[in-house]
Amino acid sequence: MKKTTKQTLITLGMVLACYAVVEILMALGLVSSLMKGVLVPVCIYSLCAIGLNICVGYLGELSLGHAGFMCVGAFSGALCTKFLEGFIHNKAILFIIALFVGVCMAALFGFLIGIPVLRLNGDYLAIVTLAFGEIIKNIINNIYIAKDGSGYRFAFINSKTIELGEEGTWILNGPQGISKIPRISNFTIGIVLILIVLVISYNLVNSRTGRAIMSIRDNRIAAESIGINVTKYKMLAFVISAAIAGAGGVLYAHNLSTITATPTNFGYNMSIMILVFVVLGGMGSFRGSIIAAALLTLLPEMLRGLSDYRMLIYSIVLIAMMLFNWAPKSREWRDMMVEKFKEKRLKKEVD
């Protein structure tokens, strides 16, 4: 078996094993409601982290706007569900359509941003995506969509132009967001999405295209000189990365019955959080991204018992983990421990 295939299978197996363990525990009634509630967010953030890892780890471009793509995916997916709710009653079909729309919209926005920015060298992408995340939030907070007897009504900035009739309901009410979204997301859907995204991502990075993308990261001039179309491959990786974040957004929208575009859930803090998952898990390691996302999502909830101190402890644990994982001294120490461990085993074998 090829080394890359083995790595892929290990990661997929790990996800499946986690799923099986959790499902069994749930069937036995051993999982608390708190943990059940966190399972879907774990999947959401894992997805976004995998998406961002393609962009940061493999393409080598920093994106600070992945919460923006998540936001696009969430709102377009939720709107799609709200529009189709009356016509399609099968939840699975409803979700698949919403997923398709959300992913496509996120990819489209990724493409539009990529056109001007990915032609440039340097850290421009970080700046532009940061701005994008803020802009998209403000735009969504100014869109009003309602439905009443005479059909759909749209307004931008000023909601007072919409005079709702008796039976009228708001679909997207500016800063009040979208409410009453059917709660379709569950752990199984989340895991299936992660598996699909993992297969796509591993195939991408292990293919000819993936090697082209990585060569751009390692040395752009060399890559160009052997005839690689730099802009094209950059665009490809970035759009896929945005699309995966969009999938996370769709899952997010259908998990809570209400979504609003506020700085806490789709602001740049969230973008940074996703980046933290990627950095902690290791650039270019999808498996690490998933573990880091799961760990950092579960951690604050596990620390609930400590009430106010949990914020403090969370930050300390974050710093400690970051150091343990990536500080040169700590890595040296870890390597040393492994060497010792091996020596002991060798001695035992000799004995």
């Binding site: 608390s32 409601s33 859930n265 492994v338």
Partner: protein
């Protein structure tokens, strides 16, 4: 290195699995009432969450001292949601594991919308002290103690019109906040029927809430004598300071979010002199119930309670009234409790800190009289 990684991965997985099972909650009949509270105890809206849940805690202590509800003591547990829907759902789930039978919460609107969906599914009776969006009570199990946003807006407009506070009114609101926008909408609608005229309507967003010179200049140029401020107190503190620097001195009129402005750090409370706010609670009220509550609160938490504290306090008494009306015991299942409590809610009338003779429609909205408060000499004083 590789071995280490594997060991680490296995250890992490094991830790996760253990942590998941460790909190598997005990359920079933209990001999005490378990009431949960959810609100922002940290973050930007922490003042509200802390006030409401402290107020609730005082009510719980009082009731326990007096013998509990139907002879059973109450256990109260507060969880933090950081004013975020996702965190709020987590807080709700952790309270559910604890065995919560009724929920006092959530304090803020958006999280409440998400939690209300779950509590309706799980049949857990919910009374929110201060989530004011009308959608919050769309399920049968959820009731409000505060006014809804639309009610606050129209009541403010009526109050300004009837008392003839001003003839030219300006409105500044936060267009990225559902609460602010909801109040503003109905204020403007009702203003059309009133004697005053709205000369300026101007907005800001969460991203631009540090500089208001443009908006205030607009108000000043239009000659507005009163500025209606349907937003939270921390922003109001900035606006008052900047208006003072400009030498612009209109009447500022806020709604319940303005409550708490005297508690803002580094804010010169002299600037808040003469600010009106429409709120159902004033700490200076002379009735015995309020005075006792204010004293207990000051002794326990070292500050004067704001309206949210009174709302939280009332929630617990409302739950008590409903439970006594239906003659319930804590060993019943959540389904039974929720159904009986929801029915009893429409039959009870509660005299609370935030209103006398509060009653509820089956829709979940409260009916009580609004009240205006003015800030005089650094304290909230009710105006007749």
């Amino acid at each position: 290195m590789k071995v280490m990684k594997k060991v680490l991965a296995v250890a992490l997985m094991a830790a996760m699995v253990v942590s998941m099972t460790a909190c598997g909650g005990a359920k079933g009949g209990s001999s005490t009432w378990k009431i949960g509270g959810i609100g922002p105890l940290t973050g930007g809206a922490a003042l509200y969450g802390n006030a409401a849940l402290n107020g609730a805690q005082i009510a719980v202590d009082e009731i326990n001292e007096a013998g509990g509800i139907n002879g059973y003591k109450i256990e109260f547990k507060a969880e933090d949601d950081q004013h975020d829907a996702e965190k709020s759902v987590n807080a709700y789930n952790s309270l559910k594991d604890w065995g919560m039978q009724a929920l006092c919460g959530t304090v803020t609107t958006t999280p409440c919308l998400a939690v209300a969906e779950l509590s309706a599914e799980d049949n857990i009776f919910e009374v929110t002290p201060s989530a004011s969006n009308p959608d919050v009570v769309s399920h049968d199990n959820c009731f409000q103690v505060c006014f809804t946003d639309p009610n606050q807006g129209s009541a403010s407009a009526k109050y300004i019109g009837e008392k003839k506070l001003a003839s030219k009114v300006a409105v500044i609101y936060n267009s990225s906040d559902s609460y602010s926008q909801g109040v503003e909408e109905t204020f403007v609608k009702e203003a059309a029927n009133q004697s005053f005229e709205i000369v300026v309507e101007t907005a800001f967003t969460d991203d631009s809430k540090t500089d208001f010179s443009t908006q205030l200049q607009q108000c000043q140029d239009a000659g507005a004598e009163l500025v209606f401020c349907p937003f939270y107190y921390e922003v109001a503190a900035v606006i008052l300071t900047q208006a003072d620097q400009m030498g612009y001195k209109p009447i500022f009129f806020g709604v319940d979010g303005m409550d708490g402005i005297l508690g803002v750090e580094n804010f010169d409370t002299k600037l808040a002199e003469g600010v009106y706010l429409l709120t159902p609670f004033a700490a200076d009220a002379t009735d015995e119930r309020t005075q006792k509550f204010v004293k207990t609160y000051q002794d326990k938490y070292g500050e004067t309670p704001i309206q949210f504290a009174a709302d939280g306090y009332d929630v617990i008494y409302v739950i008590k009234a409903a439970a006594e009306k239906a003659n319930l015991k804590p060993d019943q299942t959540n389904e039974e409790l929720c159904k009986a409590l929801s029915q009893a809610m429409t039959q009870v009338s509660v005299d609370g800190l935030t209103g006398n003779g509060m009653t509820w429609a089956a829709s979940g909205e409260v009916s009580k009289a609004p009240m205006a408060v003015i800030i005089k000499d650094g304290v909230y004083v009710s105006v007749e």
